[in-house]
């Protein structure tokens, strides 16, 4: 079988597996939420409401039905892409909630990943190119420290230093309340401000993004730094690199043109999965920085026992991770001919 035909089969197989993965995840989410303590009727009507009102609501929401019947209803709704309405913000569709909060999460994820990739690959390359030197040891330390530091703690400390003490960065929001945010269809303030040609709002949006995304990005960069450093070191010892050296090519060119390209292949997998997990909600970052993203909203929904919203957001996150993992597999298969499928 030719490589392109094999690749097509592989892609089809991965796509066919996606619904199975989604079904497994949605079923687990459904069962876990039913296993948690607390009655949604209490959450909606409050503890002081009469029992008759709570019972009527349970009937209205189908909460008094057997579990299997609730499950079938839930799956039926999902197949129709109906995520239901929020129990706490009654009258609001869960899709509305997602589209309202998701752009903030996307914006933070993209900026953080940009920081993480630039810092991680930069430090990793530097460390690998000078083995056994101070730079190598520094890079290793950087990787370990950033990987192991708890984000909520670093976030708090950086806010104290850069916002409270130095006053360099704003605190606790995505855009100043005194200014109307950029109006656009994407909900991404940076992009919307560019699309509307308002550079002042673009820089304001960047300014507010800076501290959360740098914090998250630097902490994530440790992962990339470690992978790049290890892979680059191995690549730099490969025969083809030795051959390049023998031909008199400079170390800089070997590093950038020959070694780094190959060393970055494993980074794609990690990058894709990290990005998917960021889109799937950097809960700690969003809560620490009061970032109004979807993960922050999920946190609120969990504390209010808003089951449809929790289910809806989790299923949405799961779909992102599934799609991202399929894309990564396909890209990997495409760029790395050594992969067998």
């Amino acid at each position: 079988m030719s490589r392109s035909r094999a690749l097509q089969y592989y892609i089809v197989a991965r796509l066919l597996l996606a619904p199975l993965m989604l079904w497994t995840i949605t079923t687990v989410v459904f069962l876990l939420l039913r296993a948690t303590p607390g009655d949604p009727a209490d959450a909606i009507l409050g503890g002081r409401a009469p029992e008759s009102a709570k019972e009527a609501l349970r009937q209205q929401l189908g909460l008094n039905l057997p579990l299997w019947q609730q499950y079938l209803n839930y799956m039926g709704d999902l197949l129709r892409f109906d995520l239901g309405t929020s129990l706490t913000s009654r009258g609001q569709n869960v899709w509305e909630v997602i589209w309202q909060y998701f752009p903030a999460t996307v914006e933070l994820a993209v900026c953080s990943m940009t920081v993480a990739v630039i810092v991680g690959i930069g430090v990793g390359t530097l460390a690998a190119s000078r083995p056994g030197t101070f730079l190598d040891v520094g890079g290793r330390l950087f990787g370990i420290i950033t990987y192991s530091l708890p984000l909520f703690w670093v976030g708090m400390v950086l806010q104290l230093i850069f916002s409270v003490q130095l006053g360099w960065f704003p605190l606790g929001t995505r855009f100043p309340t005194t200014t109307t945010p950029p109006q656009g269809f994407t909900g991404l303030y940076t992009l919307d401000s560019i699309l509307t040609g308002d550079l002042s709002k673009f820089f304001t949006a960047l300014y507010y993004l800076a501290l959360p995304s740098i914090t998250l990005g630097v902490l994530l960069s440790g992962i990339f730094e470690r992978i790049v450093r290890v892979n680059l070191k191995q690549t730099l010892r490969a025969d083809y690199v030795e051959a390049a050296r023998a031909r008199g090519i400079s170390e800089g060119k070997i590093l950038v043109n020959h070694a780094l390209k190959n060393a970055l292949i494993p980074v794609i997998t990690v990058l894709g999965l990290t990005f998917a997990s960021l889109l799937g909600g950097a809960v700690l970052t969003e809560v620490t920085f009061s970032w109004p993203g979807l993960a922050n909203r999920l946190y609120e929904a969990i504390s209010l026992r808003d089951y449809p919203t929790v289910q809806g957001i989790l299923v949405f996150f799961a779909a992102i991770v599934v799609v991202a993992s399929i894309l990564i597999d396909i890209i990997n298969a495409y760029v790395d001919p050594r992969i067998r499928y």
């Binding site: 303590p37 190959n262 809560v287």
Partner: protein, 547 residues
């Protein structure tokens, strides 16, 4: 294009382009004016006489028929008018959209309310008795979280004429006008809202108040002054509400002047720190007695709390000043009745009868009841795991008993997740528990009937249906039920006050609860911002704030 097959030259130009872009971006950012933001570096929260208020309380909904928490009710309060309202610092109601206090029929069942003319909704619809009747019916029939407040007592609502409303009650209820001052019982535009179970509009608000909703974002709200408001115009140009996810961000946002006003919810240690700053003149602190009451519930169905001597011994042993200091750094008003001090009917019955830290009397009572060091009275006290304050109350009580009671009285501290905790209270599994009460409306009745009222009782199970079961004390007394009914029927304030005095005496004798304190509410305000007030229902009054 395969990025990994780019030539060295292309890679170099790509890197050069990225570097050049970064340098240009850096130059533009550095040379341009810093954006006018609420950032600390700017330190001008809102230079246009708009006020920026920071809070961690995020509204769940803005629909008054479904709003039941402080966050939502506070916003609804400021964007709406009610038939009756409170003056800040007073628990006496006064007419707002009504032009006078209601005329009550002799049997106490029919309330006739004259309404103000010339009022319009934010969408331009005129306000009249039909609109008010629609709003009250909607509050009841849509089945929102607070609907039971009126559903339990209102028989019918009718517009008697264009500006006169008639409300018929199911049974006499002297505190009914206070219910009409509940933030959610406000008129909403019949054009913007629908009647029907579950038909809510969580993201809009169309009422008659001094502010209209201009923008409702994911972490902020903008309220603009309503230019057709019938009453006195607000002293500011509008309000920005900034919602923060945690108390640390609220604290830091205030310190960096990113917000003008910080209100709800700061931690006790943050309040203490900001109070110290206020004493140094760095900013201002405004405090008011809150309406939230903290108390200990004693389950009368469980041994040894079924013995009155044990309950009374706990009342003797409790040291409120110490507890308040350890738990809230003294940020509370000590309370010696379930009724808060804000009400004229307040009678400090627990102070008169038990006082604080009277351990000798406590020991005598326990010894009389047959307890000793060898046979101690052991009581398990429970609290929800998400409440550090109530955890501290329970731990401090335990330590207090260990230190002072010579082993005759012992507390065991237990915790459980909050959903299970509140669900199990009416099932009577907790011997003692620490709770807070957030009133639904400001009348002493709301601090008595939900605690001491009982509709059905048996000798084995105690209260089987009623307020005391919901609270977990299972208290039942024929005399108490009679007194509660009497005060609900009584329209004469003096006579009602006498009945409340008797109720509080009986409460102190039976001790199904031990009141601890009513919380103080704190607002922190930057210098230059003036006239910040909290109304007795804990709502921050927006319209008076100016700078």
């Amino acid at each position: 294009m395969n990025w990994f097959q780019l030539s060295a030259k292309k890679w170099r130009s790509l890197i050069q382009f990225v570097c050049l872009f970064c340098v240009c971006l850096f130059l533009v950012v550095s040379c341009s004016n810093r954006p006018q933001t609420n950032a600390p570096a700017v330190n001008v929260p809102a230079g246009d006489a708009r006020i920026t208020i920071g809070t961690t309380n995020k509204p769940r909904t803005l629909d008054p028929a479904d709003a039941y928490e402080l966050a939502a009710l506070g916003l609804v309060y400021n964007m709406s008018d009610r038939l009756y309202t409170y003056e800040p610092g007073s628990t006496e109601i006064k007419p707002q959209l009504a032009t006078a206090l209601p005329k009550v029929s002799e049997e106490g069942l029919t309330y006739t309310i004259p309404l103000r003319q010339g009022v319009v909704f934010h969408d331009g619809t005129p306000f009249n008795a039909e609109a008010m009747a629609f709003s009250i019916r909607r509050f009841i029939q849509n089945g929102g979280k607070p609907s039971f407040l009126l559903a339990d007592s209102v028989q019918s609502v009718t517009a008697k004429s264009e500006y006169e409303l008639t409300i018929k009650l199911k049974k006499p209820f002297a505190a009914f006008p206070s219910l009409l001052a509940f933030s959610g019982v406000c008129p909403v535009s019949p054009k913007a809202y629908e009647l029907g179970a579950g038909k809510f509009k969580p993201n809009i608000f169309v009422g008659t108040g001094p502010y209209k909703l201009a923008e409702y974002g994911t972490d902020s709200l903008r309220l603009d002054v309503f230019d057709k408001y019938w009453g006195e115009k607000p002293a500011n140009k509008g309000i920005n509400v900034q919602i923060l996810s945690n108390a640390a961000n609220l604290f830091n946002s205030f310190r960096t002047k990113a917000i003008d006003v910080a209100y709800l919810s700061l931690q006790p240690d943050q309040i203490r720190s900001l109070e110290e700053g206020a004493k140094k003149g760095e900013w201002q602190a405004v405090s008011a007695d809150g309406s939230v009451v903290t108390y200990i519930v004693l389950n009368m169905n469980q041994a040894p709390l079924d013995k009155p001597e044990v309950r009374q011994a706990i009342a003797f042993m409790v040291d409120r000043p110490l507890l308040s200091q350890r738990v809230l750094y003294g940020q509370a008003e000590l309370l010696y009745s379930l009724v808060p001090k804000n009400f004229a009917v307040y009678k400090p019955v627990f102070q008169d009868k038990y006082g604080d830290a009277k351990v000798d009397q406590a020991k005598q009572l326990l010894t009389k009841a047959g307890f000793s060091k060898e046979n101690p009275a052991k009581i398990a006290i429970w609290y929800p795991s998400n409440s550090p304050i109530r955890a501290l109350i329970a731990q401090t009580l335990k330590a207090l008993a260990e230190k002072t009671m010579d082993g005759i009285l012992q507390f065991e501290v237990n915790t459980v997740d909050s959903a299970t905790f509140f669900k199990e209270i009416p099932n009577g599994i907790y011997p003692a528990l620490a709770l807070d009460w957030y009133p639904d409306f400001l009348d002493p009745d709301n601090y008595i009937q939900p605690f001491l009222g009982c509709n059905k009782w048996s000798a084995v199970k105690g209260c089987e249906d009623g307020g005391s079961r919901s609270q977990g004390s299972f208290y039942y007394s024929d005399r108490m039920n009679e007194l509660i009914s009497q005060q609900r029927r009584e329209q004469n304030p003096e006579k009602r006050q006498e009945i409340f005095a008797q109720i509080q005496d009986l409460l102190a004798a039976d001790v199904p609860y031990v009141p601890l304190w009513q919380k103080k509410e704190f607002v922190f305000v930057h210098n230059g911002v003036k006239d910040v007030k909290i109304d007795p229902t804990q709502n921050l009054v927006y319209r008076t704030i100016n700078k």
